[in-house]
Symmetry: C2
Subunit: 418 residues, 2 copies
């Protein structure tokens, strides 16, 4: 449940009119509801109250420092996948002892940075990485806390680009080999085994695959116990889906019940890495209609484009289109497209929508996750601002970029000036 | 033909070792060859020497200010598609009288900016835009120079995302209605008709569709002449393809011959907007192997990712993979993937490649167009530098972003600090 609703015919974010914010900050912009962020976080956390657990919010879904701080204030740790995300988490005030570091391509400088900051643990993705982390820790004269990320080979039934726990994916370590590698890790002088982790995909709408994955990992934890390898943390990753259109994902409560039933006998602290399920429906992208074109096909040209929100273009994702000012009367079938010079630049295709006119404000719903974080400057479009509403006040938590920002890092060498 | 070749077993950009640049600037980075840029520009320009013409380099392919300046020094104008690209072109020293402004979503402030700067002309994409431009010019008390972009409904046989001249695309004006709209434009007091334009797609590998489009537009120009509407500029857009893998696109010389044959009788100056054909093979992305993973499927994990080069993920594009240090011996079949936490993050899939090892340098070829310009900070990865080689010297023309750059525009509101 989110707090974007029409009141007196105008879309509001909590108690604040989206129209009034657009008037003040211009379009396009991302808009987040603080109350929704907190509500979603608390619902997830509350669902696991009967299980020892730590929530590590997945920064990759939305890494704005104010969003991170919101969850950190609620007691959340952070799941990071790069040095840049670690930097953001620390800047937002995260306790390093609640940060887990995942990802298949950790560079040595990133590993050193995370070790210096004393994070909770690395989720190790490969045999080589095990040795690289041991090596970096060795040069620093310290122990590196690790979990092995096992790949349970479960089909999560999601978009192939975000299915991560199948054998064909680059992620994790074959579950059958994991035991052997844990033994090896135990023998490496600068590693401390702290956990086991897995993550099977993103935007999952069924509980079955999660439970199946937990079963496989549980077997491993029991075997490890038999060998005297203690697993303190069981990191089950994230991946719970949200409703973009007609999906009916389980409520966190149902997900938690299934996990608790299967996992409660294990003497571990469970780590969860929710991202999309918390922020996805807590944000929208607000854009304005520039032009309409009628013909064999109808087009509504808005001022937001694929550089601002790439999900429809990249994954063919459905994002609900809502008129900020409630519109009566007929609908039209049209493509909603942006100004970018590609036919791939669209927000919706062949969609029934209100008969929009130039100047109308449009809300692209469910844009809180994998929205701004994937945005680019393609076609030299400055990136848009991010705005957070709380208690009837809106806060610009990221400024709109200027034209000058586009070229700040660029130079014309002197030989070209002659 | 480009100037990236192995010499003594090491890939060179012109006379400069790619390994030595990587040593100095770190990886990943984009690397451009000045000699290749100039050669490609001149080959294109030379091919049209028998036709009155203006080349307006298409900034969207690669808009680095040093790259723009390179072409401007050669006499090029610039094709821009946003206020940001206009800003870049002017910063790079373009003469506004050689700038054309294309794109379906021009905002009023962008139109005003372009009018203030006195650009050559707007390529108008819709009926409403015609009136908006007239209105903005009216408030400024000036005349706006325009061409109508007609959509000739030609299938360019390219990726659907970059096919732009078909009826199902958002671009341009139905060729059958164009005459009527030209008449209307002539009646609007603040418009000056300067040309006709069309653009049918990108990465075309056949000449036929270009000639077909020209034929249709030519008919229109002749009809306009009959009505006393003079067309000074005939803008044929860009779209000529390059060899990424096994494509055999026509040489600019062949393309030019066909266009000249069909177009020479027209009393117009022709405008061409080449982008990819000039810069595509003049740039590479250099990355380093971090890890290899062998199993049911082999993976080579490198330090560049889909945020740096999105074409393989977005369009399924083929980019050639070359070892910077020539490797003898066996090959392997593997996926080359980046550190981003998506299965969609790959640079090559199921590809025969040298048996790479951690530390090896890899060149991703043909990355000069739609490479850096589409890059993002996804997974909080700082954007990579761009480097230009000329006469044995390399110049960093865009600096690597820092972690601090990632959050420069962000704020944590005070209510979260309590």
């Amino acid at each position: 449940m989110h707090f974007f609703k029409h009141k007196n015919g105008v879309l509001h974010c909590e108690e604040t009119s989206v129209e009034s914010i657009a008037h003040d900050v211009g379009t396009p912009f991302y808009l987040y509801s603080y109350r929704t962020l907190v509500r979603h976080y608390q619902a997830f956390d509350e669902a696991f109250k009967d299980l020892p657990h730590l929530i590590c919010y997945s920064a990759k879904a939305n890494s704005n420092v104010a969003v991170l701080r919101t969850f950190i204030n609620q007691g959340s740790g952070v799941d990071v996948v790069s040095g840049g995300e670690l930097f953001r988490a620390l800047h937002a005030g995260a306790d390093p002892a609640t940060v887990v570091y995942s990802g298949v391509g950790k560079r040595e400088d990133e590993i050193r940075y995370a070790l210096q900051e004393r994070i909770l643990m690395f989720n190790v993705e490969s045999y080589q990485e095990l040795h690289v982390i041991n090596g970096v820790a060795s040069t620093m004269g310290i122990q590196a806390p690790i979990a092995l990320r096992v790949n349970p080979d479960i089909d999560p039934k999601t978009h192939p680009y975000i299915a991560t726990g199948i054998k064909q994916a680059k992620f994790g370590i074959d579950v059958d080999r994991a035991l052997e590698w844990y033994r090896e890790a135990q023998g490496l002088p600068h590693l401390t085994i702290r956990g086991v982790s897995c993550h099977i995909g993103s935007q999952l709408t069924e509980i079955g695959p999660f439970v199946e994955a937990l079963k496989r990992v549980k077997e491993l934890v029991l075997k490890l116990g038999d060998e005297g390898i203690k697993v303190e943390y069981m990191d089950l990753g994230g991946g719970l889906g949200i409703t973009y259109h007609q999906e009916e994902p389980p409520h966190p409560q149902e997900y938690a019940s299934a996990i608790i039933t299967e996992g409660k006998a294990l003497p571990c602290t469970f780590i969860f890495e929710p991202g999309r399920v918390i922020v996805g429906n807590a944000g929208i992208l607000v854009t304005r209609v520039l032009y309409t074109k009628e013909g064999d096909k109808n087009f509504v040209v808005v001022d937001a484009a694929m550089n601002d929100l790439v999900r429809p273009t990249l994954y063919g994702s459905y994002q609900e289109i809502v008129s900020v000012t409630a519109k009566q009367g007929d609908e039209m079938v049209a493509d909603m497209v942006g100004p970018i010079c590609e036919s791939g630049d669209f927000l919706a295709r062949d969609r029934a929508m209100p008969c929009f006119e130039p100047g109308d404000l449009v809300a692209v719903m469910s844009a809180g996750a994998y929205g701004f974080v994937m945005s680019s400057n393609y076609n030299s479009r400055p990136r848009v601002p991010e705005v957070l509403v709380k208690d009837g006040v809106f806060h610009v938590i990221r400024e709109r970029e200027s034209y000058a920002d586009l070229i700040r890092e660029e130079h014309i060498p002197s030989f070209l000036e002659e």
